[in-house]
Amino acid sequence: MEAFRTLFTHFEDIRVLFFSHMVQTSLVAFTGLAMVGVRLKLCQALVVGIPVAFYMYLERALMLTYQYSLTSHILLGALGFILATWLILRLPVVTAVVATTISYIIILTSETFFLMPVVTYFNIDLKYVLSNPWLQCALGLLSNIPLLVLGVASYFTRFSLLKLSGGGRKVLVKISDVGFRKTLQKNEK
């Protein structure tokens, strides 16, 4: 019980979950898969992003509770993403691995060369950031800008780094092609 109580105290503010984690996880799914040539619709990105956001919320609380390293936190996050992409979208594992890795490389690079210089330049104390949910959301969103730019660019230009197989996209077809099925039924008649 004590462990649960300690864990509970380390949960971030709920606003961070909704305004930072969910946006970031949906963007990671959307842009990562766009980079391997699998185009998601917004609702499909959310279908992956929302459960992973809850997972990240829990995982960050665990990190703060047990003080394990940032590398472990990053790897656990990536693993969660790979599993979610694989299980929810039913994409091949290799597609999930490559898409997630690309997204994480973009995030880490943007945090290194975009977010942290801003934090250093304005001399912002990270402890203060962690205690202020809106500031945490704002900085979180700042680090997502490169992902957002790449995702939007890829959406309009259909650019992708790789063209990996979408495999058996049973869930994708069900969500996105309702009108298509009606046309099929008409053609059959």
Partner: protein, 291 residues
């Protein structure tokens, strides 16, 4: 290999990316743990910065590397598609040569009928030839020469086996957005199956109906063989890999490949099989790939 990455190359890319990601994550951990979180982190600031920069360079380099592999794979796929096009064109020329040879015979028959003073026989014969000419003209009017070559070849094969071929081309497939290579694989497999099924059947009337049409949003390709009928017990397994009714002649991949290619292009394949209509396989492909 087509433009979709070969599985081994995809795993190689994953391996390269994961390695650079791990180094980048370690660099990130070293640098920012040193800077912000843990006080006694056993690494100097400059060394952690070097690891971080090295990890970043490696990550960017690996993205560039896999992009180059993708370009090579695309070029290889393009070369293979060109080779298929060449082969199809060669076959189309052979079929047209055979037709030309047939027409020489037809002209001799007409000339003979006229010399024998039987113009009505000659007229009837000409009417028959016009039907054949219309069929060739319909096929060669398609925008895709690969598809035209395939249809000419398969129709010749079917007719040589005593199958009556009926063709309904209501679309010339102008601005068809899909790869000709994939389309010929889809229709080639469906036509092979239909011709094989008709060949094996003992029915006196064997009809193969090929229909190509389009509406505002979709292209529709339909292949019908009048007989045999697929038993209901097989309907669920017909698209599964390894399923075949051709015994030793088939590997059971044809329809599975067709299904995969159609779904890859966001289309759908389905079939009906009953006594009244025969067996109809229909592939529907959306005009706009974004649909």
């Amino acid at each position: 290999m087509n433009s979709v990455f070969d599985r081994k190359i995809a795993w190689l890319s994953a391996f390269v990316l994961i390695q650079s990601f791990l180094i980048l994550a370690t660099g990130f951990n070293c640098y920012y743990n040193y800077k912000y979180y843990i006080i006694n982190f056993p690494i100097t600031k400059s060394l952690s910065a070097i690891i971080l920069i090295f990890g970043t360079l490696l990550a960017v380099g690996s993205l560039w590397f896999i992009r180059q592999i993708q370009d090579l794979a695309d070029k290889q796929a393009e070369a293979e598609a060109q080779a298929v096009l060449m082969e199809e064109s060669r076959e189309m020329i052979n079929v047209l040569r055979a037709k030309q040879h047939d027409y020489t015979n037809h002209l001799q028959v007409i000339s003979g009928s006229l010399q024998m003073g039987k113009p009505h026989r000659a007229m009837e014969y000409i009417k028959e030839i016009i039907g054949d000419l219309a069929l060739v003209s319909n096929i060669t009017g398609l925008e895709s020469p690969e598809l035209a070559a395939l249809l000419l070849k398969k129709i010749s094969l079917a007719e040589a086996n005593g199958i009556v071929v009926k063709l309904s081309i209501e679309s010339r497939l102008t601005n068809f957005p899909f790869s000709a290579y994939e389309l010929t694989r889809i229709l080639g497999n469906l036509l092979d199956n239909a011709i094989h099924a008709l060949q094996e059947d003992f029915s006196p009337e064997k009809i193969l109906l090929i229909r190509i049409s389009e509406d505002l949003r979709y292209y529709l390709f339909s292949i019908t063989n009048s007989t045999p009928i697929i038993p209901k017990s097989l309907h669920k397994v017909i698209f599964e890999e390894g399923f075949t009714t051709k015994r030793n002649k088939g590997n059971g991949l044809g329809l599975a490949i067709v299904k995969a290619l159609v779904e890859k292009n966001k289309g759908q394949i389905n079939f009906i099989s009953n006594e009244q209509e025969g067996t109809i396989f229909t592939a529907v492909l959306p005009k706009n790939l974004g649909d």
